[in-house]
């Protein structure tokens, strides 16, 4: 039964990939998205059964290479992440039915459809992988299919650069994973994932490599730079999948390793928590300054990944301290937040896609007044903003509440140094939450409210039905997941003391209705419509409104030192007294700290090195034969040393 569900899901996704490649027609693309929708229903059944009953499916082992088997497996952790894939895919599929038709040519439309299905399939298989080799194979397919999606509009120079950047970063991630897995293999002698009963000192090397490898893919600071490049280039449906699901697959990979370690060390937890907190804080601070809607959302993903890693870090610390219940609480918080982020970030990317489609620009400064032009999209956008700002009673709040509870109860930790560290982490976590609220007031307020700021936004029209139903799915789940968070947690068998958000939601709703009724019944006349007060100016123009850059200015001033803004002011004068102005130049430059100090130096070094290496390639066959011969000799000597 269980196995059949999974085979069905794989088969539907595979046919969803192959069909649009064979036939290029609108109906086939529709069928293809219908198939991915069907597969996610099957997957929900599959994951639901495993999570609820704890029964694990048995997949046949296929001989694949000598000494290596093709194995699949799914425990509760994997089932959780399969469920995560399965709840995001329906919204994206429905949305894409219409969205994909806006691509430039027939071939691109079909290719995008096929790639979307392949991407989902590869992510599913990564989670299902039973050993390291299978994991890495599908990991690479996942990277490549997402790369092709990022490059879908390959004619633009900017997209090419974005694609290249993403390609390099994803390969760095894979390289680290390779080393991590190989060192793990040398320790255990088996490629299978299993309980790691080794002293933490032996596992330090695999831990570091896997942490960096998965961290790059998940977008932890300082490896986050690929996100703000790749997302604006990718189609919005692909962004939704990448941000919503692919980043979580990296989280899954890391959890798979971390949870199998029986005795982690304290510094692991401290390292993960530090990286998580910093990512969360820097992610949101950079997002605040951003004026491109998709880049802003990309930075916000960095923030949320940071929050997830904060939870994982807490788990590790509490586990070392022997506080099992708090460790469970933080781990649940991290996983729950992964779910929530998958939902609201896919919702927000889909809405952003609709807005960009309707206005033809990604600049927030050019939006405005969309709440009247695109009422449904705006309402969905609002739900996403409220959830991501983690306000009650949505799911975003429920996830953060779990982490807050873990933090607040950390007085059980006896080590004073750890307590001090946790206080710092908690205050930074709180700052992140509040900055995220400010960020989404800005994003929603400037995008949807007040007077349209440009002609494009004044002429915007509501998008077609599939592009409204698509995001409505995650939006409904955001509210459901928040209201029923307590019930969902107990359904998953987690005994956690948690406030009943359903009660809170009902109370809010009841009081709201009662207030509304009371005030309505006392209404004496209709509400008056009158111009906004503009200090005597007859009508307001868009130039008088608050802008996106203006909105974030106070925070930009407060966090000046983080942005490293350089203001250069060069003025020339005709006279010595500097009173007659000749000409001048004022420049405000944003120092791209990570790019200039962290990414460029190694890139330059590689450039110089490869100039020497390229001399080897002289185009003569005999010298190539010589290289091959030398390589064989070196190999014999090197491996001989091991034998």
């Amino acid at each position: 039964m269980l196995e059949a569900l999974m085979y069905g899901a794989i088969a539907t996704l595979l046919s969803g990939t192959v069909l649009p490649l064979l036939y290029r027609s609108k109906n086939i693309r529709k069928t293809s998205f219908g198939l991915s929708l069907l597969s996610s229903i099957l997957l929900i059944g599959f994951a639901g059964i495993i999570l609820y009953t704890g029964k694990e499916p048995v997949f046949p082992v296929i001989g694949f290479l000598p000494g290596l088997d093709f194995t699949l497996s799914a425990d509760r952790l994997a089932a959780g992440f399969i469920l995560l894939i399965a709840v995001v895919v329906p919204g994206v599929s429905i949305y894409s039915i219409e969205y994909v038709e806006h691509a430039k040519s027939e071939a691109r439309k079909s290719l995008q459809t096929a790639l979307t299905n392949l991407f989902v399939l590869s992510m599913l298989m990564v989670v299902l992988a039973g050993n390291m080799v299978v994991f890495l194979i599908f990991w690479e397919i996942m990277s490549i299919s997402s790369l092709l999606l990022v490059m879908h509009d390959y004619s633009s120079e900017k997209n090419k650069k974005a694609g290249f950047f993403y390609f390099v970063m994803t390969n760095i991630s894979t390289a680290f994973l390779f080393v991590g897995f190989i060192s793990l293999f040398r320790l255990t002698g088996s490629p299978d994932f299993g309980q790691l009963e080794y002293p933490a000192a032996d596992l330090a090397l695999p831990f570091l490599f896997l942490f960096i490898g998965f961290g790059v893919k998940a977008g932890l600071v300082p490896f986050h730079k690929w996100l703000p490049y790749a997302h604006p280039a990718a189609p919005s449906s692909a962004s939704a999948l990448m941000s919503g699901v692919m980043l979580k697959v990296a989280v899954y990979g890391f959890l798979r390793f971390l949870l199998s370690v029986s005795a982690p060390e304290l510094w692991w937890g401290v390292l993960i928590l530090t990286a998580g907190t910093l990512s969360a804080l820097f992610g949101v601070i950079y997002a605040l300054k951003e004026n491109d809607i998709k880049r802003l959302l990309a930075y916000s993903s960095v923030e949320n990944i940071g929050i997830i890693f904060t939870g994982i870090g807490l788990y590790a610390i509490f586990k070392v301290e022997g506080l099992e219940s708090l460790a469970l609480l933080s781990l649940t918080g991290a996983c729950f937040h992964a779910f929530n982020h998958a939902l609201f970030k896919s919702l927000l990317f889909l809405c952003a896609g609709s807005v960009v489609h309707a206005t033809g620009t990604r600049k927030i400064e050019a939006f405005g007044g969309l709440v009247k032009k695109m009422p449904v999209t705006s309402a969905l956008f609002m739900i996403g903003s409220v959830s991501i700002a983690s306000l009650p009673p949505t799911n975003g709040f429920a996830g953060e509440l779990l982490l807050y509870q873990a933090f607040f109860q950390s007085f059980a930790v006896t080590d004073p140094l750890i307590t001090v560290f946790l206080i710092i982490a908690l205050s930074s976590f709180a700052l992140t939450g509040a900055l995220a609220a400010a960020l989404f007031v800005k994003l929603f307020g400037i995008t949807c409210l007040a007077i349209p700021r440009s002609e494009k936004s004044r002429l915007a029209e509501e998008v077609q039905k599939p592009m409204l139903i698509g995001p409505a799915v995650p939006a409904a789940l955001c509210i459901f997941g928040g209201l029923f968070s307590k019930q969902l947690l107990s359904l998953a068998g987690l005994e956690i003391e948690f406030p009943d958000l359903l009660l809170l939601g009902i109370l809010l709703g009841l009081i709201y209705t009662a207030l509304f009724m009371i005030i309505r019944s006392k209404e004496t006349g209709p509400a008056r419509i009158s111009e906004t007060w503009g200090c005597g100016i007859p009508t307001l123009t868009p130039y008088m409104e608050y802008s996106s850059a203006g909105f974030s200015e106070p925070l930009v001033m407060i966090f000046k030192s983080v942005y490293r803004t350089k203001i250069l002011n060069r003025t020339e004068y005709f006279d010595d007294q500097e009173s007659l102005f000749k000409n001048g130049k004022v420049e405000i430059r944003l120092l791209r700290f990570f790019e200039e100090y962290l990414y460029t130096p190694p890139a330059r070094a590689i450039d110089i090195f490869s100039k020497y290496v390229s001399k080897l390639q002289n185009g003569k066959l005999d010298s190539y034969v010589l290289y091959a011969f030398l390589a064989v000799i070196v190999l014999i000597i090197a491996t001989g040393g091991f034998i």
């Binding site: 709440v371 409220v386 700002a389 983690s390 306000l391 009650p392 709040f397 509440l401 807050y404 607040f408 007085f411 004073p416 307590t419 206080i423 908690l426 205050s427 930074s428 709180a430 700052l431 939450g433 509040a434 609220a437 400010a438 007031v441 800005k442 929603f444 307020g445 400037i446 409210l449 007040a450 007077i451 307590k486 406030p499 009943d500 009660l503 809170l504 109370l507 009081i511 709201y512 207030l515 006392k522 006349g525 209709p526 509400a527 008056r528 419509i529 111009e531 906004t532 007060w533 307001l540 008088m544 409104e545 608050y546 203006g550 909105f551 974030s552 200015e553 106070p554 925070l555 407060i558």
Partner: protein, 313 residues
């Protein structure tokens, strides 16, 4: 749900709703005396609310449902909040109501929508208010969370009801560290209710306003709802501070006499606190916007110290 909680759910919001505007007036009165004026009558805020309730709402043609939705949502959020802070007696906790983090985030919900309401009319003043309010709220948030964490640390619970069940009946704070937390709570009270030196509630110069700028475009009934929500927020935060530093008289039993004494004592204590707030406001000038983080750090310091003392003790 138990009977004690149901009774509480009826009495506490009602008490808060009725008493909250009084302290808005009282603070104004104290400030007026400090400035050598006579000031408005003690019940002026009630008259104002009554007058506003009779007037129709005025909307800008650029505004949307957000502006119409915000006043109702704010007052309902604050009414739910009033179930979290025991003022008249401490009930047995039920359904996670009273969770301190939920309380914090309900306040954030209120702030989020007020800020959106400020942007909705398209006025630059509203935008400025929203921007400043969200920025300052972001900077105070770590302090708020750390202060509440310190409170949870000292009183060993996440639930305000359980915390105050512990302090109830005592005359003085149960631990000296609570005095430190109270200093932080006082600063939070000043910041959250938009008082000097952070924001000036009496100003009519648009450029210096924060909270008032956001509700500048609201009128009539909607304005009344927002004012009431604001008064309620102040009253609840005062309640947390009073129950922490001076819990004398707070009842844990359902007994008509005890509840009455408890409510009366609370009104007196709140009066005292309002006088202190009024004098505090009179003693300070408004700070420059970008100097404020330094003011917040002070509150942060006291709370962090509390946690450290508790850990090392």
């Amino acid at each position: 749900m138990n009977t004690s909680f149901l009774l509480f759910a009826l009495l506490n919001p009602l008490f808060a709703l009725l008493a909250a505007p009084l302290y808005m007036s009282l603070i104004r009165k104290v400030k007026a005396y400090a400035q050598g004026r006579k000031g408005p009558r003690l019940f002026q805020v009630y008259y104002d609310l009554k007058k506003l309730m009779k007037k129709e709402a005025v909307y800008s043609p650029t505004s949307s449902w957000v502006m119409r939705f915000t006043p109702y949502l704010n007052l309902s959020t604050l009414l739910v909040c009033s179930l979290f802070v025991p003022l008249v007696f401490v009930p047995e906790p039920a359904g996670g109501l009273g969770n301190i983090i939920v309380f914090l985030y309900l306040l954030a919900l209120e702030r989020f929508f007020t800020a959106l309401g400020g942007l909705d009319a398209g006025s630059a003043f509203g935008g400025m208010g929203s921007s400043r309010s969200m920025s300052l709220a972001a900077v105070i948030e770590p302090t708020m969370v750390i202060s509440f964490a310190a409170l949870a640390f000292v009183l060993k619970s996440l639930n305000l009801h359980q915390m105050f069940a512990l302090t109830a009946g005592k005359i003085l704070p149960i631990s000296p560290t609570l005095v430190l937390v109270s200093i932080s709570l006082f600063i939070i009270l000043i910041v959250e209710t938009g008082r000097l030196p952070v924001d000036n509630p009496a100003t009519h110069l648009e450029l210096t306003m924060i909270n008032e700028a956001m509700i500048l475009e609201q009128a009539g009934k909607n304005l009344a709802l927002l004012e009431l929500a604001h008064a309620l927020k102040q009253f609840l935060l005062m309640g947390i501070l009073i129950n922490t530093i001076l819990p004398v008289g707070l009842s844990t039993e359902i007994d008509a006499g005890k509840i009455a004494v408890s409510a009366f004592l609370f009104l007196l204590k709140a009066g005292l606190l309002a006088i202190i707030i009024g004098l505090f406001e009179s003693a300070f000038a408004k700070m420059r916007l970008f100097r404020l983080p330094a003011f917040y750090v002070m509150a942060f310091f006291f709370s962090a110290t509390t946690i450290l003392i508790e850990v090392f003790a």
